[in-house]
Symmetry: C2
Subunit: 142 residues, 2 copies
């Protein structure tokens, strides 16, 4: 068995059947071959593709961005150079996200620490911790 029905793909990828069709319409997964009856026949790889989409969404990527990520491959339409450039741009995006997440994590760790020490905690500690190095702007003049 090399192929799966839409229902199986959906169950394994932990999404609804409608979502699979939706992703097809949106160009996130390829239109699969069909049986004579019209039933879609998916290759097993579709499951990991949909899982990837799910994860990327949880990381704040839009479907448009995910489409771009998934299209980072060399084919008749894209040269090596082109793909490399696009991949490098995505790496920068990801590094920004990583840094913001790290800051958020540190803020929470500090919060937990000060909570354990029963030290007085400021009004909104997570916010204050995030402020150091938020986006290079330190001060706001009215």
């Amino acid at each position: 068995m090399e192929s799966m029905t839409i229902g199986k793909v959906a169950r394994f990828a932990e999404v609804g059947v409608e979502t699979v069709r939706f992703y097809e319409r949106e160009g996130l997964i390829a239109e699969p071959p069909r049986r004579e009856s019209g039933y879609r026949q998916y290759p097993v790889e579709t499951v990991s593709r949909i899982r990837f989409i799910k994860h990327a969404k949880e990381l704040g990527f839009t479907l448009k961005e995910i489409r771009e990520l998934l299209s980072l491959q060399i084919d008749s339409e894209a040269t090596c150079d082109d793909v490399r450039k696009r991949a490098e741009a995505k790496i920068l995006d990801i590094e920004e996200k990583l840094q913001a997440l790290e800051r958020m994590k540190m803020a929470l760790i500090n919060l937990v620490k000060s909570c354990r020490g029963r030290a007085p905690v400021s009004e909104c500690p997570i916010l204050e911790a995030m402020e150091d190095g938020n986006d290079g702007i330190r001060r706001v003049d009215i």
Copy 2:
């Protein structure tokens, strides 16, 4: 000058005026004091609060989750212990996101590398790289 109009807050936080009001309605920022005219008077901290909301959204947090993050503070309603527990849970969420992002970054770095070496590149390299350790499920049986 310790306070700002809604327009200034919006400009500094790089969102629309309507968005500031929307966040107020949604309980993400406090209802500010008003002038006699009814004009809102925001403390400067509101700007970083809104910036935080923006960043957290870009990291895939929903407004509901962001509300929870911002409420991680000790006050009359929340004990130290309670806050610590919630913060620890959020740290785990964040670590999952960090790991997924790291995997995605590595996949892209490998893609760039293989592109530079002019080596043959697989159909969808980012996907393949992400598959090692996606969510503990390695194999799909049909």
